[in-house]
Symmetry: C2
Subunit: 396 residues, 2 copies
């Protein structure tokens, strides 16, 4: 079989200025701009391989070893936009193979359990769109491509870049100006690290899309958030990132997480994504910052109970003196630290314990299933690693 | 000893449009008007007796059998205002005993455990102010007197009336127009009942006063609440009460509870008063209303995790088919119902069980310590029941 094959990886991103609210559900156009940090693909990434050829009978998708439907309108929108771009190239150069008319086989795998409840759809759609962009040899830049990923999953557009990324909401009704742009590169502020505390919970309260619709429709406070609070915060947060002002970045990140969850609570019926463990972690973070009389850590919560903590590498010992102390029974620490390094975190806690001016529920770890230790990372990457058999077009 | 003695009882009130935010901390002037339902004194009331006489050496207070300091500025403000009113009367009629210069002994008791975490300060200050008003034989009406109770505890001003009460925030800086007024009497809408689910919790997150200050100072969404959301809701809720439109009253009550807690979450650091049990009860209430396709019950939460459910007497069986089913292991039911009546609630649940379209955590009752069953009630009452010894001026 004559197949054209390409593979790409894409990262997870976690918003520090939240995307919540669609002004256009079909095009995934947001009610406000947002900002995110791209996480390292060493720890969290999707790898997607695509094959394209005249002999393929139909579009097919295999996700984490299991064949899935490609029927969703969102996925179809992405494939159509990419084929349209390819068709334009073909029209201008008749020597090009007519890939735009061929079927696609797509094989995709995450290097992390979807069970973790981390926004895997962002990395998934970003990897899908980039892999097809490569097999089609499209020339558009990634901001342009991010508009296509956006149609698959809004936040996916932010996974088209590494480092610190803004999704500009745009103004036009066709979404032509609603795209991701880099705020700052990983290299500009490389010492940003993240610890994800995966909070165990009975399944999610409300799916994001219907939750957003409900908030836009029913929250009396939501309009104030999108009209006044977020636009100001968007500029302030970009500035704090460019200036590498962690204390300001952290305050804005924590405030925006709270503001987003406040509009969920103000929805009717109210939507709850955080649970008592999430709240205990919030209090712990404020207590740690107060203890050091310096903002060394920020929390943020997406549409679920998981805590994502951002901190700078140079403050890791100060932070983990507490985080490892309270969560050492949770799995995940040994992925980055050996026994003596972990022992050292406990020593750090013992050193400060007598000065401790707050209390934390000793059982707080029971609400957490694992910790994922990572850092700011790069954008999508090409890879020789291929999940698809070049002869059969089927998963390896 | 020649002592003048008077006794009065005052009720607890639970806000349906929340008081949250002070524009003047010393005078307890609120940032928005509020509305409450007065609960029956058969179940929740404070009884206060006061003695006044020339031989008393100093102002003294006994609360629930224990002598307490009268030193708090708020209590002193109340005593001063009442003595000023008395002094005016004495000045105009020299035959009156000069009580305004005599010391006071105050003995006060609640008929409910303060442990319940119910706003006992409202009933307490209302009973204190009314008892002294009686011993001083003051002629001012209760709206006027409510301004004095307000200085003791803001929400106390609403306990000066029975039925459905509004606290008009007023405009003047001296607080002369910030007072309680009746919206509707208990007799106008007598079938309003309330069930308090006392939620067990480790002590309260943040005291109300400091919590309010933090929200006013740090919440980006709070100004929208007090400038636009509450003023509109205040008029709508008064209308729903006058028209006895329970469905509208209930929706507004639930929305305002959520709006208030949303501004707490939007404060920085965030304030949390509800816990996972509170949230499960909120979901249960929305599920019950959805199940009957009719709004038969409303929840509201003050600055704590306790749920107060409002409902109409005629819907009690429909409601308790669920509430008794899920909370029958909790104490308090036998204060109002005998075994066969309670059995009947279970039968009602069995009758609808097969049509059930939602699930509730079987262990939800474990987060609740007791249920208090009550209804809309009267305002402060005079009583012959006296807690003070007329000879010695000491507690009986």
């Amino acid at each position: 079989m004559t197949l054209h094959v390409a593979s790409a990886t894409a990262p997870v991103n976690i918003a520090t200025l939240k995307y919540w609210g669609k002004r256009d559900k079909d095009l995934n156009l947001p009610t406000n701009s947002s900002i995110s940090v791209t996480l390292s693909q060493d720890d969290l990434r999707t790898l997607t391989s695509v094959a394209c050829g005249p002999e393929l009978q139909e579009d097919k998708l295999w996700l984490n070893g299991k064949e899935e439907s490609l029927g969703s309108e969102r996925t179809q929108n992405c494939l159509k936009d990419l084929r349209d771009l390819r068709a334009k190239m073909e029209a201008s150069d008749s020597s090009m193979p007519t890939m735009s008319q061929w079927k696609l086989h797509i094989v995709s795998e995450n290097n992390f359990p979807t069970a973790a409840g981390l926004a895997s759809s962002a990395a998934g759609f970003a990897a899908l769109v980039v892999a097809i962009t490569k097999v089609f040899q499209l020339k558009e830049d990634y901001s342009e491509i991010s508009k296509i990923a956006r149609k698959g999953s809004g936040s996916a557009c932010r996974s088209l870049f590494g480092g610190y990324v803004a999704w500009e909401m745009g103004q036009s009704i066709d979404g032509s100006d609603s795209k991701a742009v880099p705020v700052s590169t990983k290299e500009d502020w490389p010492n940003m690290k993240a610890a994800v505390l995966v909070v165990s919970d009975v399944k999610k309260d409300t799916p994001s899309t219907s939750g957003m619709q409900l908030t836009v429709k029913t929250s009396d406070l939501f309009q104030e958030r999108i009209k006044n609070v977020v636009p100001k915060r968007f500029e302030e947060m970009k500035k704090s990132i460019v200036e590498k002002d962690f204390a300001t970045f952290a305050d804005l990140t924590m405030k925006d997480s709270n503001s987003f969850h406040a509009t969920c609570l103000d929805s009717y019926p109210p939507i709850f994504y955080m649970n008592d463990t999430s709240r205990k972690i919030i209090r712990l973070v404020h207590n740690i910052n107060a203890f050091y009389n310096e903002t060394i850590v920020a929390y943020t919560y997406d549409a679920g109970p998981n805590a994502v903590l951002y901190y700078l590498e140079e403050n890791e010992e100060k932070l983990f003196a507490f985080i490892y102390k309270y969560f050492n029974k949770v799995s995940g620490w040994d992925t980055k630290y050996n026994a003596s390094e972990l022992q050292n975190f406990l020593k750090k806690f013992d050193a400060v314990e007598e000065k401790l001016n707050f209390q934390t529920d000793e059982d707080i770890y029971k609400g957490v299933s694992r910790v994922i230790l990572t850092r700011v990372g790069d954008g999508p990457q090409s890879t020789d690693q291929c999940l698809i058999n070049k002869e059969t077009g089927l998963p390896n």
